[in-house]
């Protein structure tokens, strides 16, 4: 069946509602054809990823929509941009490329504000006040936001990317295909984690490593994790999803006994009862963590937390790990990236000032790996993020160690990278 449009949608495509809607509809309908959708679906919210500046093309597209009179039709949040608008001097402008990104990044963020987006500037819109309900159709971009919305919230978004996000926001429509459909949401492959010790399952760093393996094993299919404690935190699930969407193309995972579409393994798998089973052993976790950790030197230059953006709880955990302990070592930079609303709440709880006095640099509106924040000469960075560890060596030419929050803080106070290579049991 080819894609069938309603009379209203035909009118939007034909330009009767203006040129910005027509251009946006051309992209939505062509994407619908590619995905084999038979109709479009009305969406309740959009999360925009296209506001990070990677070059002129993105700015050309957003400014074209502004010039054509485009305005979003549904509540629309924005991902991080390339500039911390609250602390603009954090963004380095030491060379022509950095200056280009700074100016282009500001112009791009302004264009999305002009299109009517809410100035959230976070990759973790699910940490904000209003979240979509189970079963709600939404059009979210940014791979970690997509996988969180589908897996943890049980909302329904396909893998939308830059440009489709704003086209969906301007039309209020998306193709009814992919993960909007029941049939696409069952598990395809099982990761059996029952051989991991309770101690390992209680560690923060277990979850980004599990996510990294889940992405490597599942690719673009839906992994199902078995043997994870039913009270595992949203922050741990965030880490699983972000890493699985980086090492693979995972947009939905299930955790049996924890996530909304997986009360049981049978429910998660649906008709896929013969899904292959992979046994996740401690040895496999240790090997995966060692593979992600590229650092060869033991002098530490920086720690980066908050990818995806730190939650209130995660800032609280950093506060507990840092305050009352040793001072930050000279020459080590310590970053926590987070969103404006989470930062404001952490500040209300009295955590921000002591952390800043100890030496933490809070990065808002953006993230340490999408723009120039790390000092020149930074070589070795520790992070608790599987996504950061996966992308930073290629993006920024630094070496990383994926570590627990405790290892990150201890190393930051000594200035030497300290980690237990055989942590998982």
């Amino acid at each position: 069946m080819p894609l069938t449009l309603t009379p209203e949608e035909e009118a939007m495509l034909a330009g009767e509602h203006g040129p910005a809607i027509a251009l946006s509809m051309r992209i939505i309908t062509e994407l619908g054809r590619i995905r084999g959708a038979e109709e479009l679906v009305d969406i309740e919210s959009v999360h925009i990823d296209g506001c990070i500046f990677y070059g002129q093309a993105g700015l050309d597209f957003a400014q074209k929509l502004v010039a054509l009179g485009g305005q979003v039709k549904v509540p629309t949040t924005v991902n991080v941009g390339s500039v911390d608008l609250i602390h603009p001097t954090l963004i380095l402008q030491n060379n022509d490329r950095e200056k280009w990104v700074y100016q282009g990044g500001r112009d791009l963020m302004q264009a999305y504000v002009d299109l009517g987006c809410r100035q959230t500037w976070t990759c973790a819109p699910y940490q904000m006040d209003s979240r979509p309900d189970v079963g709600a159709n939404i059009a979210w971009a940014e791979s970690n936001a997509i996988v969180f919305a589908n897996s943890v919230l049980g909302a329904r978004t396909d893998r939308y990317g830059d440009f489709v996000d704003i086209a969906a926001a301007i039309t209020g429509k998306a193709p009814r295909g992919g993960l909007h459909l029941d049939a696409e949401r069952h598990g395809d492959v099982v990761l059996d984690c029952t051989s991991l010790s309770p101690e390992s399952l209680a560690l923060d760093v277990t979850y980004p490593v599990l996510g990294y393996l889940a992405g490597a094993i599942a690719g673009t299919t839906n992994p199902v994790l078995v043997g994870i404690p039913s009270d595992v935190s949203e922050d741990s699930l965030k880490a699983v999803g972000a890493a699985a969407a980086s090492s693979g193309g995972v947009a939905l995972f299930h955790v049996v006994g924890r996530t909304p579409e997986a009360p049981t393994l049978d429910a998660a798998l649906g008709p896929h009862i013969n899904a292959p089973v992979h046994h996740i052993t401690p040895q496999r976790l240790n090997a995966a963590r060692q593979e992600l950790s590229t650092a060869r030197e033991d002098k530490l230059d920086a720690v980066s937390l908050g990818t995806p953006h730190a939650s209130v709880d995660e800032i609280g955990e950093a506060y507990d790990a840092i305050i009352g302990g040793p001072a930050l070592s000279d020459g080590v930079a310590f970053y926590i990236s987070t969103g404006r609303s989470v930062f404001a709440e952490a500040d209300r709880r009295g955590w921000v000032k002591p952390l800043e006095e100890w030496g933490v640099t809070f990065v808002l509106d953006t993230c340490t790996y999408v723009t120039s924040i790390l000092r020149p000469g930074t070589r070795t960075v520790m992070t608790n993020s599987g996504k950061w560890a996966h992308y930073a060596p290629g993006n920024m030419g630094v070496d990383v160690v994926l570590a627990t929050l405790g290892e990150c803080v201890e190393s930051a106070t000594t200035g030497r990278v300290t980690w237990n290579r055989e942590l998982f049991t």
Binding site: G55, Q56, S143, D158, D162, F163, S246
Partner: protein, 139 residues
């Protein structure tokens, strides 16, 4: 000479040498501003995609891949065409937007697993469209 019929994801015509990847690459974080594979974990790290028919099983990684591909097309350093075994919305959108903004038309095609196995690294492939059919000729 071998011919393969695939399915049109995006329109366009192309001819070039095949760069067949052992693992999918994410455009974002995986392809650098010079058109080379910068993902240090990728088995073909350092290979240049510019002007090649990029052949990989599927898309992968961050949704900002769209943006990177549109920018590669704007700069004229994108692959000449892309062959996959399953349609990928992220890659397709980058090509659709570049066509809207710059009239830069890069064909993206899907082929069956069987045909995918027949396309070897280094061979020259031409791609042309006939409706929703993509006609691939391997020399």
């Amino acid at each position: 000479m071998t011919t393969i019929t695939g399915w049109r994801v995006t329109s366009g015509e192309a001819e070039g040498a095949v760069l067949k990847l052992d693992a999918p690459v994410s455009f974002w974080g995986g392809i650098g501003p010079e058109g080379d594979i910068i993902d240090v974990h990728h088995p073909q790290h350092g290979a240049v995609v510019t002007g090649h028919i990029l052949v990989m099983r599927s898309g992968r990684g961050s949704s900002s891949g769209t943006y990177v591909l549109a920018e590669l097309l704007r700069l004229g350093i994108a692959p000449a065409g892309i062959i996959l075994t399953e349609p990928d919305g992220i890659i397709a959108t980058g090509a659709l937007v570049a066509a809207e903004l710059y009239d830069a038309r890069m064909p993206i095609v899907t082929v069956s697993d069987e045909d995918y196995a027949r396309i070897e690294d280094g061979v020259t492939v031409s791609i042309e469209m006939n409706g929703d059919n993509a006609l691939l000729t391997i020399n």
